[in-house]
């Protein structure tokens, strides 16, 4: 273990320091990297976060359990539904409420749609980071179709707050299943274009292969989860290891690559889109009839105790830890957000590479800044 943590940064007064961010096109938000350069080579990177800290965990302490949901939307806004799901399941487990099967199926379907949408947006932004500007529009074009499905059923596109403890806020729209089938049919045709445009491209390959190699030991010791961890061969898919919702009922495989470089992390996400489509196909026709929510009291009071639930968001493992003192608001809420852990490996894997590689590596970590700062 000692070996792993030896990347202690030693600053010198004559270092050539350059600030990347907080307003920089490729940090995807208000993240600041303090880079020390030696020519084009990056000597070390110090990430500074906190520019968009809103104190969501503290705000949760004054909210009831139904109200927490709308805050969880707002840290990792690209997998908003999955965040909601984490809190909902935590509360349901604490109350020992059995949610209807229908809810589990719908939650899984939305979660997978959300995962595809998130990976599409990541693909656009990653292409942009590497300078392929057209990817951005192709990705957004396809993501629009998923957002339309969300909008029709739940009224909003990005953060739809549709989960609530006990089930869903509303039932799905009658067109929901048909639209998903249309989308899968469309996206199966379009996804190979992504490969043609970027994956197979020789410039992309030389820029991503062998860059930012993260070993499995590093991934585990830094707590890197999600596609980044799986690109290093760290089997960390919560959907597989600790199934929740309807994941135990579907057949899918956990994508694992062992190279640990930028290209492996890229491939994991592309393959995950295919797997998510497989999951959707298995579920979309088999949504059982039933109620869209379990019977819940209007005021939820959790029993005294500590409750933990983890889910797999598009970026990794999200943990929700709730300490309850029996009131209608939690005593303390802690979110273990995936990006916070994923970010801090960047010095380890990107120092010694060039600036252009740093951009590619930070892009491949799929950073969502509000998720880091909360």
């Amino acid at each position: 273990m000692e070996e792993v943590f030896q990347d202690v940064i030693i600053k010198n007064s004559d270092d050539y320091i350059i600030n990347m961010g907080p307003q920089h096109p490729s940090t995807h938000g208000v993240l600041r990297f303090e880079l020390c350069l030696k020519g084009e080579i990056v000597k070390y990177i110090i990430p500074h976060c906190g520019y968009i800290h809103r104190g969501i965990e503290k705000m949760c302490e004054k909210d009831t359990y139904q109200q927490i949901i709308h805050l969880t939307d707002r840290f990792d806004y690209l997998s908003a539904h999955i965040n909601n799901e984490a809190v909902s399941i935590a509360v349901e487990n604490a109350l020992e409420v059995e949610v209807p099967e229908r809810v589990k199926y719908i939650r899984t379907i939305i979660a997978e749609l959300n995962r595809i949408a998130s990976h599409q947006l990541w693909w656009c932004a990653f292409g942009m980071d590497l300078g392929a500007l057209t990817t951005f529009f192709y990705g957004l074009r396809d993501r629009e179709r998923i957002l339309d499905i969300f909008e029709e059923s739940f009224g909003s596109r990005l953060i739809h707050s549709v989960n609530c403890p006990g089930g869903l806020m509303y039932d799905i729209h009658p067109n929901f299943q048909q639209k998903i089938k249309d989308f899968i049919k469309y996206f199966r045709k379009v996804l190979p274009e992504y490969d043609q445009l970027l994956t197979d491209n020789v410039i992309f390959q030389v820029r991503s292969k062998g860059m930012g190699v993260m070993s499995k030991a590093d991934a585990i010791s830094y707590g890197v989860t999600g596609p980044c961890g799986r690109g290093s061969g760290f089997s960390c898919d919560v959907r597989k290891n600790h199934p929740y919702s309807a994941y135990s009922k579907v057949d899918f495989k956990e994508i694992l690559f062992t190279e640990g470089d930028t290209f492996a992390r890229y491939k994991v996400r592309i393959e995950e889109m295919w797997e998510s489509m497989k999951i959707l196909e298995q579920l979309v026709d088999n949504i059982p009839e039933g109620n869209y929510t379990a019977k819940m009291k209007p005021i939820i009071k959790l029993p005294v105790g500590e409750f933990f639930q983890r889910v797999e968001t598009a970026r990794g493992e999200l943990g929700v830890f709730i300490v309850s003192d029996g009131n209608k608001t939690p005593l303390r809420v802690k979110f273990r957000t995936p990006n916070f852990s994923n970010l801090f490996i960047i010095n380890k894997i990107a120092s010694g590479n060039k600036i252009a590689d740093l951009v590619a590596i930070s892009g491949s970590l799929d950073l969502v800044i509000p998720d880091i700062d909360r």
Binding site: D63, Q66, Q67, I69, H70, L71, R74, T134, R141, E144, E151, E152, S153, F154, G155, S156, S161, C164, M169, Y170, H173, E193, Q196, L197, L198, D200, N201, V202, I203, Q205, P298
Partner: protein
Amino acid sequence: MNIFKYFGDIFGALKSLWGGMRVTGYYFVRPGKIVTQKYPENRKKLEMFERFKGEVIMIHDSNNQHTCTGCGICEINCPNGSIEIISNKITNAEGKSERIIDKHIYHLSMCTFCGLCIKTCPSKAIVWGQEFEHAVFDRQKLTKVLNHSDSSLKKETKKEIKEA
């Protein structure tokens, strides 16, 4: 150095580049695939989905009557204080004191569109409206009074809530 590998690499690279150029070229010669729309021009045709969360509105019928009893459940449920209810106590015709709503104030600027107010409303007085063009020059204009002036409570509302 292997000369065949050298030229093989070059041809492989050219092939992969051509693959990408085919995709972009395909879309370049097909203007029918354009997905963006001209927004202000298509405003008349633009139809939002029926469940679209544009803003919170209060339904009024043709007699200018709503079903809001002023119970304040939406105000309690709102996570960030976007709703304020000002109610008056009056004595009705039977001599009993009764609470009626004076102003149902909705701060659109603070609303996060979580939908808890609408879900918990016992008399289904407030619903989602489809209006989405909320841009104004003055922040004050985002504070709206949802009940129309001179509107009144529907007679049957309280009974219906009790039955439910």
